[in-house]
């Protein structure tokens, strides 16, 4: 390898944003467009419906989902702490990442719990279709996050995060995106129904 490309490599190594972080940002933009497809349908259906949620839909209880969203927000906080610790090469990043992992699992369990005994199914109305498909897609993203955290923890145990910060940073970007989706879904399917009968 010539000197030319070797310096290019070193030059890249000292830059702030890593390729993986930029890649994750683009991936999240792409994911956002994916959810936009569903939300476009949701708001079109909302705009053309006289009663929303439709009469056939039994309004789901809000208690458990509220607990879920609080856990989710907690995981955003622990994720931020993990990310900050990672930037400072502080070993506490492992603790905070593990805490985020635990909260993510709790959130997934709460989500699953909140789907039990709902008075409608996928075919009840387009509302039911949107509720179930969006919920399942969101759940898949939470599970994706859990896998992501496990991988980051494996890297952390191997000591890799002492030298590179980007896996944690990428995980943080992804998890913040999942949290935004989670909050938006909570607002759409639960909060918006408060007061509706």
């Amino acid at each position: 390898m010539s000197e030319n490309s070797a310096t290019a490599l070193d030059h890249r190594a000292v830059q702030q944003t890593s390729n993986s972080v930029l890649g994750m940002v683009l991936f999240v933009i792409s994911e956002a467009m994916f959810f936009m497809g569903f939300f476009a349908v949701y708001f079109s259906a909302y705009a053309s419906a006289k009663i929303w949620p439709p009469r056939a839909i039994a309004i789901p209880p809000i208690g458990l989902p509220t607990a879920g969203v609080l856990v989710l927000l907690g995981s955003v906080a622990t994720m931020a702490l993990a990310s900050r610790a990672g930037r400072n090469r502080d070993r506490s990043m492992i603790t905070w990442t593990a805490a985020t992992l635990v909260l993510a699992i709790v959130f997934a369990v709460i989500l699953l719990g909140s789907y039990r005994g709902l008075g409608f199914h996928t075919g009840t109305d387009i509302y039911g279709s949107l509720f179930w498909v969006l919920s399942m897609v969101a759940l898949a993203h939470v599970i994706g996050g859990i896998v992501f955290f496990v991988l980051v923890l494996i890297q952390a145990r191997a000591g890799e995060l002492e030298v590179r910060h980007d896996p944690l940073q990428a995980a943080s970007i992804y998890w913040n995106f999942v949290a935004i989706i989670g909050v938006v879904l909570y607002a759409t399917f639960y909060l918006a129904n408060v007061g509706a009968s």
Binding site: M1, S2, N4, S5, T7, A8, L9, H11, R12, A13, Q15, N19, S20, L22, G23, L26, F27, I29, S30, E31, M33, F34, F35, M36, G37, F38, A40, V41, S44, A45, S48, A49, P54, H121, T122, G123, T124, D125, I126, Y127, G128, S129, L130, W132, V133, V137, V163
Partner: protein, 554 residues
């Protein structure tokens, strides 16, 4: 930081010798992956082409019964899907994979392993779609657009396999696009600023932005279609709050940017070739970059022109106007290509012939499009053979001619051998005549009202024109065989191609043909968007011979 790196390098075990097959199957080298993309495209091109020839044989005369209605529907649907998602797009991705890192002076793509993943998802997705032919009920038969409720009602697993296959292909192209964007934003050699990137890189960047923003919307639609078929949802059922329009809008919101994903790369290839073979710089480099970006942006605002006749579009003139508007930057491209050739020293080598063929054929396809953007005209020709003529003038006359131009232009770089010139001329002649013979008459059929996607027609005077189109289709088949013959003949020759056989401008010509695994032993200084040209000029000025002639051949 450096310590650990050095330590890792020192303790790395010596690479084990792999068999050639294993080496190709497990490679993360962007050049090998690029070649695999091209091979994959040719394989699916053969399948999709066979489907096309079967359909053309069926249509050669009125009241023919070579294939049944059911089989014809499957052929027409899978032909369209394969050609768009498994042939044309991956052709351009293949060139992108091979040449974007070379053109920006990088060692590889930003994420080599994700690059391999993007490639391998492609044949998996493609074969998933094709496997529909082997399940009860046959393959997807609702057209490449899979309009609901037809696609929801089709029984059998074929349609589900189509949906799954397309989701896989979509993931492949999204990962690939992210890889391209990060590579171009982050991996450029010192001196290679954004506005010194070769124009093909810009076209790939524009394509990748479209993929990142539009393809996931299709994925959401596909997921809805899958849920509708398998989990009893009611997204597209008006009786339960759904609407057919939800599919149409998600599909075409993706579908029109998709058209530009399929053509931008070919524009890039042609914009590389015309300057080299006219011995002039590309006229208005920055203008072309701006045109690419404008077209990409505008392509998100035109989708409803595919739905004019559905009665679901509230404002026809808005979408007609945006569609007309997009032809302005496209016109800028034509102007720049012609201005590049103006008073140039034109060499009519096979790459240039295909590039010129592209310009002429894409012009016809483009003008068809402008004409059809008028709602009044659209209502008249919608769902007729006119549309088939238009799409093929754009995607075959356009992109495939551009791909072939790229094939002749870059083959020496990829394989160290210049494709045979004489066979190349035969290939071009046959493809050009065959193409026009097949698709020009379809304009006439369309104006006379022959509907597309029908298995047969009664004897109302369309027989002769259809027969001509069928003969043309076989000529295209022969021309592709001639190309493959050329590849075989050329590959049996010794690899004697110099580093820069054409007198190129961009960095891929600054390394040996084929390049070493690490791409460059040395990079020329980069002060403009034509570093290799600059180097040649500097060498000529200093009295020594051009680098291209000095290079030894690997």
């Amino acid at each position: 930081m450096t310590d650990i790196r050095e330590e890792v390098l020192e303790h790395r075990p010596a690479p084990r010798k792999k068999s050639a097959l294993l080496e190709w199957l497990t490679t993360t080298d962007h050049k090998k992956i690029g070649i695999m993309y091209l091979v994959n495209s040719f394989a699916f091109f053969a399948i999709g082409g066979m489907f096309a020839l079967t359909m053309r044989t069926q249509l050669a005369q009125p009241n023919n019964d070579l294939v049944s209605h059911a089989v014809y529907n499957q052929l027409v649907s899978v032909h369209g899907t394969l050609m768009i998602f498994l042939v044309i797009f991956p052709f351009l991705s293949g060139f992108g994979n091979y040449f974007v890192p070379l053109q920006i002076g990088a060692l590889d793509m930003a994420f080599p392993r994700i690059n391999a993943l993007s490639f391998w998802l492609l044949p998996v997705g493609g074969l998933t779609i094709v496997s529909g032919f082997f399940v009860p009920g046959g393959a997807a038969a609702a057209g490449w657009t899979s309009y609901v409720p037809l696609s929801v009602q089709q029984s059998g697993a074929g349609e589900d396999l189509w949906v799954l296959g397309l989701i896989i292909v979509g993931v492949s192209s999204i990962l690939g696009a992210i890889n391209f964007i990060v590579t171009m934003l982050r991996m450029r050699a010192p001196g290679m600023s954004m506005l010194r990137m070769p124009i093909f890189c810009w076209s790939t960047l524009a394509t990748s932005l479209l993929v990142v923003l539009a393809t996931p919307v299709l994925t959401s639609g596909l997921l809805m279609l899958l849920a509708e078929r398998s989990f009893g949802t009611t997204f597209f059922d008006p009786a339960k709050g759904g609407a057919v329009a939800y599919w149409l809008n998600t599909f075409w919101f993706f579908g029109h940017p998709e058209v530009y994903m399929l053509i931008l790369g070919a524009w890039g290839i042609v914009s590389e070739i015309i300057p080299v073979f006219s011995a002039k710089p590309l006229y208005g480099y920055k203008g072309v970059v701006v045109a690419f970006m404008l077209i990409s942006g505008l392509s998100f605002s035109v989708w409803a022109h595919h739905m004019f006749t559905t009665g679901l579009v509230p404002n026809l003139s808005f979408f007609a106007a945006t569609t007309e508007l997009i032809s302005v930057p496209t016109g800028v491209l034509f102007f720049n290509w012609i201005a590049t050739m103006w008073k140039g020293k034109i060499r009519l080598e096979p790459p240039m012939l295909f590039a010129l063929g592209f310009v002429a054929m894409f012009l016809i396809g483009g003008i068809d499009g402008v004409w059809m953007a008028e709602p009044a005209m659209d209502f008249a020709v919608h769902d007729t053979y006119w549309v088939v003529a238009h799409i093929h003038y754009v995607l075959f006359g356009g992109t495939i001619f551009g791909v072939m131009a790229g094939m002749y232009y870059w083959f020496p770089k990829m394989f160290g051998r210049v494709l045979d010139r004489k066979i190349g001329y035969w290939h071009f002649g046959l493809q050009f005549v065959g193409f026009n013979l097949t698709f020009f008459p379809m304009h006439i059929l369309g104006l006379e009202g022959m509907p597309r996607r029908v298995v047969t027609y009664s004897d109302t005077g369309w027989g002769t024109v259809n027969l001509i189109a069928t003969i043309g289709a076989y000529l295209i088949g022969v021309s592709i065989m001639v190309f493959l013959l050329n590849v075989v003949v050329t590959l049996r020759r010794p690899a004697t191609a110099p580093a820069d056989p054409w007198g190129g401008n961009s960095l891929e010509w600054a390394t040996s043909s084929p390049p070493p695994a690490h791409n460059f032993d040395e990079l020329p200084p980069i002060h403009t968007y034509r570093p290799v040209f600059d180097q040649r000029k500097a060498l000529a000025a200093s009295g020594s011979r051009p680098a291209a002639e000095e290079e030894s051949v690997s």
